[in-house]
C-alpha cells in the first residue's frame, strides 16, 4: 500500500514510518504540518493516510481539517486519524459524509503494532476503525427516538464491536459466541435499521453511521 504519514513529533513520525515499512508498505510522504498534509493527500492519493489531529502552524485541529478537506475533494479517501484524546464530536464529523474508510484512534494504539496495522488495513479497505473509548462513549449516550432504541442489549454490543471495525469472526471471539450467531445478529440489526442488502462491508459502515447518528443532527 502507498501510505502518507502526517505527524509533527519527529520520534512518533519516524516510528510510524518504520512500522509501516516493516509491514511491507511504502511511505510516499511523511509531513509535519496542516497545509503540507492537505497537499500530500490530494496530490499523492495514497491508499491510506495516518494523520495526527493537532498539527502546526496553529496547533488547533489542522490535521483533522486537512483530512476532511481532502475527503471533500476525494470522497472516501481512507484516513486513519490519531490523537492523544478521542472525541465523539470529531468522530461524528469524520463519519458524517457516509463514505466510510475512516479510522479514529488514540495514539497509544500504535504501541500494539499488530492491532494498529489491523486498523490501518481495515480503513484502507473502506471499513471503520473507531477507538473502543469513542465507542464506549457512544454506548453511554442517552437513547433518542431512533431505530437504535429497538435494538436489544446484545444487538447493541454487536453493533458496538462492528463500529470498532471488527469482522464477524473477531466479534464472535470477543463475545464468546459462534460466528453463525453473530451473522444472525448482524442480519437482524441491518433489518431493524432498515438497511437494504447490498455489499456487506458498505452495509456495515452504514449501520455504524446510523449508530453514530451521523450528520451531526443534534448540533446544527
Amino acid at each position: 500500500m502507498r501510505v502518507v504519514v502526517a505527524e509533527d513529533l519527529f520520534l512518533l513520525r519516524d516510528g510510524m514510518v518504520r512500522l509501516v515499512e516493516a509491514h511491507g508498505h511504502s511511505v510516499v510522504a511523511a509531513v509535519d504540518s496542516g497545509p503540507a498534509t492537505l497537499d500530500a493527500l490530494v496530490n499523492e492519493r495514497p491508499d491510506v493516510a495516518i494523520v495526527d489531529v493537532r498539527l502546526p502552524p496553529t496547533f488547533s485541529d489542522e490535521g483533522l481539517q486537512a483530512a476532511l478537506a481532502a475527503r471533500r475533494v476525494l470522497p472516501g479517501l481512507p484516513v486513519l486519524i490519531l490523537s492523544q484524546h478521542v472525541e465523539q464530536l470529531y468522530a461524528r464529523e469524520l463519519l458524517a459524509d457516509g463514505h466510510g474508510g475512516v479510522g479514529y484512534q488514540l495514539k497509544d494504539r500504535v504501541l500494539d503494532a499488530g492491532q494498529f496495522m489491523d486498523a490501518l488495513n481495515r480503513v484502507a479497505d473502506g471499513g471503520t476503525a473507531l477507538d473502543p473509548t469513542v465507542v464506549a462513549k457512544l454506548l453511554g449516550r442517552p437513547m433518542r427516538a431512533d431505530p437504535l432504541a429497538t435494538l436489544t442489549e446484545r444487538e447493541r454490543s454487536v453493533l458496538a464491536l462492528m463500529a470498532e471495525g471488527l469482522s464477524n469472526a473477531a466479534i464472535a471471539g470477543r463475545l464468546f459466541l459462534s460466528e453463525g450467531a453473530i451473522s444472525k445478529y448482524t442480519t437482524t440489526i441491518f433489518a431493524k435499521l432498515g438497511l437494504a442488502a447490498d455489499d456487506d462491508t458498505n452495509r456495515r459502515v452504514r449501520a455504524v453511521l446510523t449508530y453514530l447518528g451521523a450528520g451531526g443532527q443534534d448540533d446544527q
Binding site: 492523544q84 484524546h85 472525541e87 465523539q88 500494539d112 443534534d218 448540533d219
Partner: protein
C-alpha cells in the same frame, strides 16, 4: 411617633404638629453652618466697612475700597464656614442619617475612616500610616487628626451641608417662619387678616414641608464615591486572594497527579525494562512477560496524563474554542443536551476557559440533581457580554448556598467581572445564566 388611626381633625392636628416638630429639627440640623456664616458676615461687614468710613478720597478709590472690603468679608465667611464644617459636619450628617431612618425607614450606610494603629519602627520612630514621628503621643495625635479630617466621607458630608443649607433649610423653615411672621403681623403690625392667612397657610403646609428631606438625603447622605472605590478595592482584593488560593490548589493537584501517577509509573517501567534486559538471554519468556507488563503500565500512565490534561485544558477547547467544546460536552453528557450558539468568534482564552468550566459544572449539576430529560445550552454574545444559559426541565430548587458548586461558579465568575443568575422555582424549569463581559477579537 405613632399617629392616631382616626381621621378628621385629631389626625390633622397631630400631623401638623409632627410636621412642625420635624421642620424644627431639620432647621437645627441644617442651619448651623449658615448661622455661623451669617454671624461672621454681619460682624465682619460691621468691621470691614468701618475701615473706609469717613474717607474723603475720590469716588473711584472709595469704590475700590468697598470692593476690597466685600471680598474680605466673603473670605471670612468662607473660612468660618469651612472650619465649622470640619468640626460639625460629621456629627450633623450622622444625626441626619438617624432621622432619615427614624422618620422614613431609609437605611443609609456611611463609613468613616477608623483611626489606624500606630507602629514603632526599628529606628525608634513611630509610623502613623502616613509619616514618621519622634514621639508616640505625636503619632497618635496625628493618626487621630488624619482619620478625622482627611476622610473623604467628611468632604462628602460637606457637600450635604451645602445642599442642606441651600434647599432643605429654606423649605423646611417655611412653616416655622410663616407661623412666627404671621403671629408678628397679627399682634404687632395690625395686619390681622394677612397674619391669620399666613399662619393658616403655614399650618396647612407643615405636614409637607419637611418631606424635601427624603429625596435629598437619599442622594447626598450616602457613602462618598471615593469610599465606594475603596470598597471595590476590598472586593477585588478578596477576589485576588481567592484566585491565588485556587491557583495554588490547582498547581498542587497537578503536581500530585504527576508525582503519584505518571512519574511513579515511568519509574516502575524503567525498573521493569532493566529487569527484562537482565533476563533477556537467560529466560526470554519471563523477559517477554515483564515487557508486556511494562507496556500495560505505560498505557495506564498515558491514560492518567490524559485525564489530567483534560482537567487543565480540554483538547476540544484548545483546538476549536468554546462553542465546539460545549458541543463535545453535550455529546458526552448522560442526558440529552441541545446546544445553540450565537457567538460570532472566539473570546479570549481565560474567559473561554472560565465559561467552559462553568458550563461543564452546570451540566454535571443537572445530571446529578435535576432529574431532567431535556437540557438546552444557549451561548450568546450581546452588549460586550458573553452569556451561557443552561436550561433544564428538572425538579428546580437550585440555589447558590454557601459552599455549594453554584457558589463556587459564582465566585469564579466574579473574578472575571461576570455574574451568575439563577432562576429555579421548585418544580422547575431551571434557567441558570453565566455572563462575563469580554471583547471578541
Amino acid at each position: 411617633m405613632r399617629l392616631p388611626a382616626v381621621g378628621g381633625p385629631l389626625r390633622w392636628c397631630s400631623e401638623t404638629a409632627l410636621g412642625l416638630y420635624r421642620s424644627a429639627v431639620l432647621v437645627g440640623l441644617t442651619g448651623v453652618i449658615p448661622a455661623v456664616g451669617l454671624v461672621v458676615g454681619l460682624g465682619g461687614s460691621e468691621v470691614a466697612y468701618s475701615w473706609s468710613d469717613g474717607s474723603t478720597a475720590s469716588w473711584f478709590v472709595r469704590a475700590l475700597a468697598a470692593l476690597g472690603e466685600t471680598l474680605m468679608v466673603i473670605v471670612w465667611i468662607a473660612v468660618a464656614a469651612w472650619i465649622t464644617h470640619l468640626l460639625v459636619s460629621r456629627t450633623l450628617s450622622q444625626a441626619a442619617r438617624q432621622r432619615a431612618e427614624h422618620w422614613l425607614g431609609m437605611r443609609i450606610q456611611a463609613e468613616y475612616r477608623p483611626v489606624p494603629p500606630i507602629t514603632r519602627m526599628a529606628t525608634g520612630y513611630w509610623w502613623d500610616g502616613k509619616e514618621y514621628h519622634r514621639s508616640e503621643r505625636e503619632a497618635r495625635r496625628r493618626a487621630r487628626m488624619n482619620a478625622r479630617f482627611h476622610d473623604p466621607q467628611l468632604q462628602w458630608d460637606g457637600l450635604w451641608a451645602v445642599v442642606a443649607a441651600g434647599a432643605v433649610l429654606p423649605v423646611a423653615a417655611l412653616p416655622l417662619v410663616g407661623l412666627v411672621g404671621g403671629l408678628y403681623m397679627t399682634l404687632a403690625s395690625g395686619l390681622v387678616g394677612y397674619g391669620i392667612a399666613v399662619m393658616a397657610a403655614s399650618l396647612v403646609g407643615a405636614p409637607f414641608a419637611w418631606r424635601i428631606f427624603g429625596p435629598l438625603a437619599a442622594r447626598f447622605l450616602g457613602p462618598a464615591p471615593r469610599s465606594l472605590l475603596g470598597r471595590r478595592v476590598e472586593e477585588l482584593e478578596a477576589i485576588r486572594a481567592d484566585l491565588t488560593q485556587t491557583q495554588a490548589a490547582e498547581l498542587e493537584r497537578i503536581e500530585r497527579g504527576l508525582h503519584d501517577g505518571a512519574q511513579a509509573r515511568l519509574v516502575a517501567m524503567g525498573m521493569s525494562m532493566g529487569a527484562a534486559e537482565q533476563l533477556v538471554d537467560t529466560d526470554p519468556e519471563a523477559a517477554k512477560r515483564i515487557l508486556a507488563d511494562a507496556r500495560a503500565t505505560s498505557a495506564t500512565a498515558l491514560a492518567e496524563l490524559r485525564s489530567l490534561v483534560r482537567g487543565i485544558n480540554p483538547p476540544v477547547l484548545a483546538e476549536r474554542g468554546l462553542v465546539d467544546a460545549v458541543r463535545a460536552l453535550a455529546l458526552d453528557a448522560p442526558v440529552e443536551v441541545t446546544v445553540n450558539s450565537a457567538v460570532p468568534s472566539r473570546p479570549e482564552r481565560p474567559v473561554e476557559s472560565a465559561v467552559y468550566f462553568a458550563v461543564a459544572e452546570l451540566l454535571a449539576n443537572v445530571a446529578k440533581h435535576a432529574q431532567a430529560s431535556e437540557v438546552t445550552v444557549e451561548l450568546g454574545y450581546a452588549k460586550e457580554t458573553l452569556t451561557a444559559t443552561v436550561t433544564d426541565d428538572g425538579v428546580g430548587g437550585a440555589a447558590a448556598s454557601e459552599g455549594s458548586g453554584l457558589s463556587g461558579i459564582e465566585r469564579r465568575m466574579t473574578a472575571f467581572g461576570g455574574c451568575l443568575e439563577i432562576e429555579s422555582p421548585t418544580g422547575g424549569p431551571t434557567h441558570i445564566t453565566v455572563a462575563v463581559p469580554c471583547a471578541l477579537s
